[in-house]
Structures are given as C-alpha cells and as structure tokens.
C-alpha cells in the first residue's frame, strides 16, 4: 500500500471518528443534564439514563482515542503525540488542534474522576464534573475550526443539530435550577401545599394537583405566626364548639 493511500485512509478515519465523537459527546452532555434534572427516557427505568450517560461517555472516549491516534499516525500532517494533550504546540493548525488538546485534557479529567468517583469524594467529583460544560464548547470549536467537512451540506446540518441540542439541554438545566425551591423554602412549600400529600415533593415543587383550599397556610402568610394562631382559634372555634364559621374550610 503506498503512503498516500494509507495516509488518506488514516486521514479519513480521523475525520470520521472525530465527527462521531462530536455526536457522542453531544449525546453524553444531554444525557448528563437529563440525569441532573431527574429526566426519564420513555419506557425505560430510571437507571437507564445514568447507565447510558456512563456507557456513551466511555464510547465517546474510545472514539476520541481512535480519532487522535489516527491523526498522529497519519504521516501527511505533522501532529506529534505531545500536541494531543499539550495545547497549541502542533505545527499543523496549532490553534484549532490546540483547542482539541484542551478538550482532551478536560475529558481526561472528567473520565478519570468519574471512574474513581467512589474514592475521591462527592465534592471533588462534582467540582471537576462542572468542566463538562467547558469541554463540549471547546471540542465543538475544535471540530468546526479544524474540520472543513462540517462547513457544508449534511455535516453542517449535523453540527448545527448538535449545537441546538446542547443549547436546549443547557437551557433546560438553567431554568430547572432556577425553579428549584431553595432549601429554606422547601418545608414551607410543602406546608403551603397542604392538604395534598401527593407523590414526592422533590426539588421543583410538589407535583400533583394543586390543593383545593390551601388558604389557611398560603405561602405568603407563613411568616406570621400570630395570624396562624388566629386562624387556628378564632376562625374555627366558637365558644368551645368547633362548628366552622361560614366560609372556613
């Protein structure tokens, strides 16, 4: 096999695995946000989301590895091993490949910490895992910058679709987090939702139907202990007889 043909084969392999890796990383990020948001894949058990997130991320790592190895092995472009993890030292497209190196460094951190998450403690793992939000845009920029394949046609559409998916997932994450009841309000919200034991009150407020009459304990009045006392007493009681007054619950 002459050099040019094998080089072309390696170059193709690198580009192809790069594109697949980008798609897989997009899926990983969206799944990761789904896990965080307690999302469910229809028809699948809860552990499916988290298992898929883990499996696809390992698959993405594999594709990234092949993408990198084929790129280094290709004699046509001068990319040394160092350039895969040290940003901006390659002779070929130093900037865009540098971004790829940054992305790989972040991915290594994410992968290693996730494989060892039982040992490093929850806080450390979480802190490092935030880097995922940096890793994807950097990988995306690397893909666009060093991959003219993605500037036209179907692959352009694919790139746009990935960007849209990530943007949508991030919005889901941000909106969901902002809607989360702060710790100090959680008990108060459950109390305001009384009666209505419903299925679990989780982070985004009590699911299930709004109770008919939460008037007595509505959120805005929770701070006024005196009012509640009045309501327990004057609204409800009359001379030792507990017949409710008209209009009371």
């Amino acid at each position: 096999m002459d050099g040019i043909t094998s080089s072309t084969a390696l170059w193709f392999a690198s580009r192809a695995t790069g594109i697949v890796a980008l798609v897989l990383l997009t899926v990983v990020l969206v799944l990761g946000i789904a896990v965080n948001r307690h999302g469910r894949l229809p028809g699948l058990p809860r552990f499916a989301v988290t298992s898929l997130h883990r499996a696809v991320s390992l698959l993405a790592v594999a594709f990234v590895a092949v993408h990198v190895i084929t790129a280094i092995a290709d004699p046509f472009v001068a990319i040394g091993i160092a350039a895969t993890v040290v940003p901006f030292v390659s002779h070929y497209q130093p900037f865009w490949l540098g971004l790829g190196a940054v992305s790989i460094d972040l991915m290594i951190a994410l992968t290693v910490t996730s494989l060892l998450r039982g040992r490093i403690g929850r806080r450390t793992w979480r802190a490092v895992h935030w880097l995922a939000y940096v890793s994807w845009p950097v990988a995306f920029a690397h893909s666009i910058g060093s991959g003219p394949d993605l500037w036209r046609g179907g692959l352009l559409d694919l790139a746009i679709a990935c960007a849209v998916a990530v943007a949508g997932a991030v919005i889901w994450r941000v909106v969901g987090t902002r809607r989360e009841t702060p710790l100090s309000q959680r008990a108060a919200r459950v109390l305001a939702g009384w009666p209505g034991s419903g299925p679990g009150h989780r982070r985004d407020g009590p699911p299930g139907p709004r109770p008919r009459d939460a008037g007595r304990l509505r959120a805005g009045r929770l701070h006024d202990d005196r009012l509640h006392d009045d309501q327990l007493r004057d609204d409800q009681f009359r001379d030792g007889d507990l017949r409710p007054k008209a209009g009371a619950r």
């Binding site: 896990v35 965080n36 307690h38 058990p45 809860r46 552990f47 988290t50 298992s51 883990r54 998450r117 039982g118 929850r122 793992w125 979480r126 034991s197 299925p199 679990g200 009150h201 989780r202 982070r203």
Partner: protein, 71 residues
C-alpha cells in the same frame, strides 16, 4: 470480613431512585421518592449489585459501610 451495610447520605440524596431499581432486595422508595434502606448486612450474593448501585447513584449519596451505621 466485617459485614457491609448500605447507607444513604440524606443530604446528598435528591430522590433519583436509581438505587431502588438496582438493588430492589434492599432498597425501596417511600411515597416521596426517597430510599428506604434495609440496614441488615448485605448478603454476599448481593454485594456486586450493591457496589453497582453505589457507583451509579447520580448524587453519589449511597455508601457501603463496614462500620456500625450511626449518625
């Protein structure tokens, strides 16, 4: 070997419910979605599953402990 038990960090737990699916013999969910854990020692046959449940908890809230529970 000291008996291992499954334990949850209730502060970290946000009620994902993955543990109850992966270790139904020892964990069920209460009416609010939070785990009810059997604090008996983990039978050896279930240890692998227990480790998987601990590994896969999205909040890293599940633990295996060989110490006597206790807060």
């Amino acid at each position: 070997m000291p008996p291992t038990r499954v334990m949850v960090n209730p502060v970290a737990c946000s009620g994902h419910g993955v543990c109850a699916e992966l270790l139904p013999e020892l964990i069920t969910l209460d009416e609010w979605g939070y785990p009810l854990i059997d604090d008996a020692p983990v039978p050896p046959a279930l240890e692998g599953q227990a480790r998987r449940a601990v590994r896969d908890c999205p909040a890293l809230a599940l633990l295996l402990t060989s110490r006597d529970g206790g807060r």
